[in-house]
Amino acid sequence: MIECEVTIKNRTGLHTRPAATLVKTASKFKSDFLIFKDGMEINGKSIIGVMTLAAEQGSKLKLRFQGEDEEEAAKAVVELFESGFDEQ
């Protein structure tokens, strides 16, 4: 199990498009991917879930990956957050 914390860097937050990118990326891996924010626990492979997070710029999220390819999954997803979803 890998746990880490990320900060939302992109201006528009986790709105529809970045949310879709996140879900798409996470779904490439077999590992389970959960996102925690303000007491909410959301499946990171579910677009409706990620949209519900309403994560705006600057908010912090806790991510948890669990499964055979958890390391690769974590790396790919964290990279997305770091790059601000390539949306500048």
């Binding site: 709105h15 529809t16 879709a20 879900v23 779904s27 909410m40 499946n43 492979k45 579910s46 677009i47 409706i48 879930g49 949209m51 519900t52 309403a54 705006e56």
Partner: protein
């Protein structure tokens, strides 16, 4: 004894607006649509997999609908606003969400509607709780999506459920609902909302199915299976009628049918006044299925073929060939008389493939505006109409025209289509008549210059009146302000008729007003050349016209123009008609 009292006590009488004549007896069927009611139902083990399959199909259908809306929206409102549909489509493709729903159906043994409503509802609830305004809008989208899926789930069930004959009871009915339901054995329609000239009411009339609208809360008062009487003449609906009441209505139905039968001999006679003035009396139709009825009723032609009915119950536009076959069928059946075809009038409250939502659809993208923005659709339709015109009995008219520029652009489309057909040696009527619907006040004021550019005008009184009076005819809160005999309406009608005649063009009227017994003498007195009415009332209107003296109605119409209020105009006309034709049953059969 006790049980009898019990039954008697349950009788409830509701009064609404009569929208389509006729009396029917039968059980209620509660039809829910706008905000579907979700009932929790336990599943038997053997029902589980069919239920999952049903969900899959509903999700698939919803995605298909949304993709179509998305395409339309991208074209019309731009990518930015269209995004909301993209988000909805993505949610429909959410594997986690769907898997959760399917797992829950299997483990909790509960129906798809209940589970999907609960699952999406949870997220919508969280979104509503967020502070962000953007999230509140997303919550709305999710509710919308939820209702779409549930609707698709329930529509499938609806068809199989409507076995037997029912009086359909609903909060509101769209024209599409009315039509789709009428494929079953529907005895009548009773709705909470709606006005007499809503399109759903017009549909019911065309289909000769009794309807009462504006009943307030009948969809909550009645339950599926409740015995009911619906009286579309007086606007009465009785839930759990007593035996005595049933007998009373059976006698009433017989009396009214007898009056209708007495009109039959008039059917083959022309609509000529006692002093030899003839007007053309034709019928409005929605569907080619109505053609036979329209001929049986003694119509001289079709004064309005609402072609948008071809779009009902499908999620794409009919091909040119499909349209051609429908138009040809109408032209052949009515030959040697004429069929006036109105190009698609989509938008407003009309049947439309789902599009981007408009805040003000009646002031929005509808009628000729849609056609001019969609050149391919428009050309397909014009080609189909022109190809069907070889017997020279088709006229084409354009709805919702506001300006001369629109008339010219539409005519240019016709010219181009003609040239294209000619280059391919396809036959059509070179001199096909082109007309414009006068529905927008601006077009009424501009009637003379419009008339100069076309062969005829046709007054669409329903829309013209609602635009003139700024009253949404489908809004029960203001529907009473929709008054056919407002002096402003009379002045406008007279103005349009004179304008057409000054340009030596003929002018007809094809709204509901044309079929109002009180209005017929007024319109004929104004000099109208053609009345196009719903087939159901055609014999009655013919009887009225054949009893009138033209010189006398000209006089009556002149007097009407000097009256200041709608109520006094109506009283004036009622008094006149009662005196001239005492046996016309004016009370309760028509709403003015």
């Amino acid at each position: 004894m006790k049980s009898l009292e019990h039954i008697a006590a349950r009788e409830r009488v509701l009064t609404g607006i009569p929208a389509s004549p006729g009396i029917a007896f039968g059980p209620a069927y509660i039809f829910t649509k706008a905000i579907p009611r979700v009932e929790e139902r336990e599943l038997e083990p053997q029902e589980i997999e069919p239920e999952v399959e049903r969900l899959r199909r509903a999700v698939e259908k919803s995605a298909k609908e949304l993709n179509k809306i998305l395409l339309f929206a991208q074209k019309k409102v731009g990518d930015a606003k269209a995004k909301i549909f993209e988000a909805q489509i993505m949610v429909l493709q959410d594997r986690i969400l769907l898997d959760t729903v399917v797992d829950r159906i299997r483990s909790e043994l509960r129906n798809a509607e209940f589970i999907i409503s609960d699952e999406i509802g949870k997220y919508a609830h969280l979104m509503r709780a967020a502070r962000d305004e953007y999230m509140h809008e997303r919550a709305h989208d999710m509710e919308d999506l939820k209702n779409r899926v549930i609707r698709n789930l329930q529509q499938e069930k609806l068809v199989s459920r409507l076995e037997g004959t029912f009086i359909v009871v609903s909060h509101a009915l769209t024209p599409a609902d009315t039509m789709i339901l009428s494929r079953n054995h529907v005895l009548g329609y009773a709705t909470d909302l709606g006005g007499v000239t809503s399109h759903a009411a017009l549909f019911a009339r065309s289909l000769k199915i009794p309807a009462v609208v504006g009943l307030g809360a009948i969809s909550r008062e009645a339950e599926t299976g409740d015995p009911m009487i619906i009286d579309g003449y007086s606007g009465t609906v009785i839930i759990h009628p007593t035996e005595k009441r049933r007998k009373e209505f059976e006698r009433r139905r017989e009396r009214l049918l007898k009056f209708e039968a007495a009109l039959a001999p008039l059917r083959d006679l022309p609509a000529t006044t006692t002093d030899g003035h003839t007007v053309e009396l034709s019928a409005n139709i929605e569907l080619t299925e109505e053609l036979d009825y329209c001929v049986v009723q003694g119509s001289q032609g079709v004064g309005l073929f609402r072609t948008e009915s071809l779009l009902i119950g499908r999620d794409d536009f009919p091909s040119e060939e499909e349209q051609y076959l429908a138009y040809k069928k109408a032209a052949d059946r009515i030959y040697p008389n004429r069929v006036l075809m109105r190009t698609f009038d989509i938008g407003g409250d009309k049947v439309a493939p789902e599009m981007a939502e408009e805040a003000n659809p009646f002031l929005g993208w509808r009628g000729i505006r849609v056609s001019l923005d969609q050149p391919e659709l428009f050309r397909d339709q014009l080609r189909a109409m022109l190809r069907a015109s070889v017997r020279k009995n088709i006229g084409i008219m354009f709805p919702m025209v506001t300006t001369i520029d629109e008339v010219r652009r539409a005519k240019k489309f016709v010219l181009e289509t003609k040239a294209a057909l000619k280059s391919k040696h396809i036959r059509f009527d070179e001199n096909i008549q082109i007309g414009v619907m006068i529905e927008v006040p601006a077009a009424a004021l501009n009637a003379r210059s419009i008339a100069a550019e076309v062969d005829f005008l046709s007054i669409g009184s329903n829309d013209l009146i609602q635009y003139l009076l700024a009253v949404d005819r489908g809004n029960a809160l203001v529907a009473r302000l929709y008054k056919t005999f407002e002096p402003s309406v009379l002045t406008t009608l007279k103005y349009v008729i004179n304008a057409a005649h000054r340009e030596r063009k003929w002018v007809g009227i094809c709204g509901q007003m044309a079929g109002n017994p009180l209005a017929a003498p007024l319109l004929i007195g104004f000099g109208i050349d053609e009345l196009s009415v719903v087939p159901a009332v055609l014999p009655e209107i013919k009887k009225i016209i054949r009893s009138l003296n033209y010189a006398r109605v000209q006089q009556i119409s002149r007097e009407a123009l000097n009256i200041r209020t709608a109520e006094e105009v109506e009283a004036h006309l009622r008094k006149f008609l009662k005196k001239e034709i005492p046996d016309i049953p004016l009370d309760g059969t028509q709403i003015s």
